[in-house]
Symmetry: C2
Subunit: 248 residues, 2 copies
């Protein structure tokens, strides 16, 4: 993240208090997203920056845990490769978001991190966080908060997967992406998906055909303009209403 973008993010976060009073669900859906405070301190911690190409594995099951990772640029996905061959995508992480929590419990990563765009990833060494003294006590506190946010996000995701119909899930997914892009100063109406229909479907617990069908339906209803990976949100209000409509 360059300085200007960083500044923008900070401003967005600062303004965030007044924004969004109603849609808690969406908030909870956000991946770990450091506060500006933490971001400032993070520079101290970040030791290594790694470039990674789209499609490459960043860490996989069994990789020893060294710390959390911040996405500096690009796009990552975390997937769970189940022993029986099944695969579940747990989340997508964009610029400024933090992933890698799956390694803390066992000291090695349980899941697999894969780039879905050329990306730059910064290591936030865990031992250094752990061993720091009083002066960064607050920083450590933030890490609790990050993890807690991750937990909340997952609960929401569980609810989505457990009891909400596909159209609502996809609408919520799009709004979530939109909001995260907006927070980073990008357009919240023109989304460039960097994941395939299959990846979206896997993440949301549905088949790629279903994703495609719903995109078509939304387009027919005038909610979206869909052209492959370019999605333009035409009726934000309606999409939001749909996303909040959790019972049919």
């Amino acid at each position: 993240m360059d300085a200007k973008a960083l500044h923008r993010v900070k401003a967005d976060i600062a303004n965030n208090k007044s924004v969004c009073s109603n849609c808690r669900q969406l908030e909870l859906c956000m991946p770990a997203n450091p506060s500006s405070d933490l971001l400032k301190n993070l520079d101290v911690l970040v030791s290594v920056k790694r470039h990674i190409k789209s499609g490459d594995v960043f860490y996989h099951t069994g990789t020893s845990f060294q710390g959390l990772y911040a996405v500096k640029s690009g796009f990552m996905k975390i997937e769970n490769h189940h022993p029986d061959g099944r695969l579940q995508i747990n989340g997508f992480y964009m610029m400024g978001e933090i992933f890698g929590f799956d390694g803390i419990a066992t000291n090695e990563h349980v899941f697999t991190a894969v780039a879905i765009e050329d990306s730059e990833i910064c290591l936030i060494p865990y031992d250094r966080i752990e061993q720091m003294g009083q002066e960064v006590e607050r920083l450590k506190y933030h890490f609790y908060r990050l993890m807690s946010a991750e937990i909340s996000r997952n609960y929401t995701m569980m609810m989505m997967l457990g009891s909400i119909q596909s159209e609502v899930r996809l609408a919520t997914f799009l709004l979530n992406l939109s909001k995260r892009l907006q927070m980073r100063g990008y357009s919240h109406k023109d989304l460039l998906l960097c994941m395939s229909r299959e990846e979206i479907g896997n993440y949301l617990g549905m088949k790629l055909e279903t994703v495609s069908r719903i995109f078509s339906k939304f387009q027919a209803q005038g909610l979206l303009k869909v052209h492959i990976k370019n999605i333009e949100i035409l009726d934000m209000q309606l999409l939001t209403a749909l996303s909040n409509q959790h019972s049919s």
Copy 2:
């Protein structure tokens, strides 16, 4: 699952094929479960013990966050009361397990904790954990691990909800309970469910009728003996194989 599929599972067992000895999925399904080390140290921290009656709310959305809670006796559930009236049960917590992570991020609880049995709950004050010095550094480390485990558990739950059929989910749920009971020295074959069919269904993302039907089916297949809330596991091996069979 039809008779043919059941037969296939049996054949697999005979061939010692899918009887996964390590069974990571189940492990990951466990709620936060402190090590004996941590439990020992916990006594230092625990300040308040509260009794609560079955059905009573322990904390709810908006309750200010004071710390994590350990279940000393009884049974708790955590539910997400969504603004639109919908409700999702996020987890069940039994003796010796820790809940309350949902309050860390915002300093107030996001979810609702309700007793489903008369219970004793111990507060583990958060500020005291935070402010402790070096000597309990390891203790703090354990808390990271607890949270990380909670995250992993939820990812597994997400996978279950997203792409696994109801029978397998219910089988996994029963085995999870069985294992947790066994770890506490109780029988792992005789389960006394303290939650209703509706609560189980809500947690597992299915309707109460579906839960009931599957119980009946499992009984007909000789897997279980079901009498309302008393469940006796008759064929542990087959149930385990079923739980590991994530693709139909």
